[in-house]
Symmetry: C2
Subunit: 164 residues, 2 copies
DNA sequence: ACAAATCTTGACAAATCTGTATAGATTATG
DNA sequence: CATAATCTATACAGATTTGTCAAGATTTGT
């Protein structure tokens, strides 16, 4: 299970715009330079983000990209879903009918339940995280995340660093 | 963010073995038929699982594969880490020193913190899930997962089905 | 009208992931 | 020993993802 390149770089481009105060826009070359991605790749990513409704574009000499909404109203989970799809797609195992019906294939469906459980906990985090939240530095971000997870105090912080 | 094919099919092969009571083994053709995967692909996956220490193999006419340990001692998170790697690799952003040091690059590191947070909640689920747990049917599995997530009762169950 | 800077689009090449093919090594059984 | 069934290992082709290229369209300012 990995984040795709498109998810990582797309989100970085969006963060780049979020860092511009008062909705100031950026052109592709500026984003490219700031993030160290080629201009053509930035163009491709921004096109996806535009069609997903997260940014607006303007052509011409003073054109560029701006966020469609303030950073605190752009949910990271929705951005990642656009760039990389969802972990658990409803079509994963279609042998069942109804919302809580039990599937005929117990093997597939125990996987299905597991996939859904993972999707659920991931959404718990990503639904509550906005671009604005990602503008903090790492230390603040770590404490904030700790709060998200209903952890409190120093000892639990260490859990964030514990390997599997 | 997706589970890879290798993660899904590898875990299915392992589940196939777990379903054999009393550590009875299975040969590649049997697993292939049970899961609908080609024998050659099963062979490739089982090789990975063997080198990861999750199964033992025996060659010859009465050979085949068996789990190295009982199903309740095989942690799904460890299996998936072998088959598909980790979401958050420690090398993700190496510009920092020490465990709680703040990275110089605030952008990279807010992503780093986010990735780590997602990894953390995923591990919360996958560390507590064993092959034995996955042998339940979907309904039992859904309730069990609900307990894992500190949810309780019918209303919260619905959360598992809520889209992003 | 023209030029310069910008975004837009589809096609393309390179890298990675998926799944298959093939040849070989090991072991039980007669 | 011979055979048949098994696992082992590497190499290979197809599909997908990643990232680039090139030609075009739009807008500003002169």
């Amino acid at each position: 299970m990995k984040f795709s390149s498109q998810e990582e770089y797309g989100l970085r481009c969006l963060l780049c715009l979020a860092r511009e105060r008062e909705g100031g826009g950026l052109a592709i070359p500026a984003i490219s330079q700031a993030e160290g991605i080629s201009t053509t790749y930035v163009a491709k990513l921004m096109r996806i983000l535009r069609r997903g409704g997260f940014v607006k574009s303007a052509r011409g000499k003073i054109g560029g990209y701006t966020l469609s909404r303030p950073p605190d109203q752009i949910v990271v989970g929705e951005v990642l879903a656009l760039l990389g799809g969802r972990l658990f797609e409803p079509e994963f195992c279609d042998d069942h009918a109804g919302d809580l019906e039990v599937c005929t294939n117990s093997t597939d469906c125990s996987l299905r339940s597991l996939w859904r459980a993972v999707q659920f906990v991931v959404d718990q985090v990503l639904r509550k995280t906005t671009l604005q939240d990602l503008l903090r530095n790492e230390q603040k971000m770590t404490f904030w995340v700790s709060g998200l997870l209903n952890l409190s105090g120093e000892p639990n912080l260490k859990q964030l660093f514990k390997p599997l």
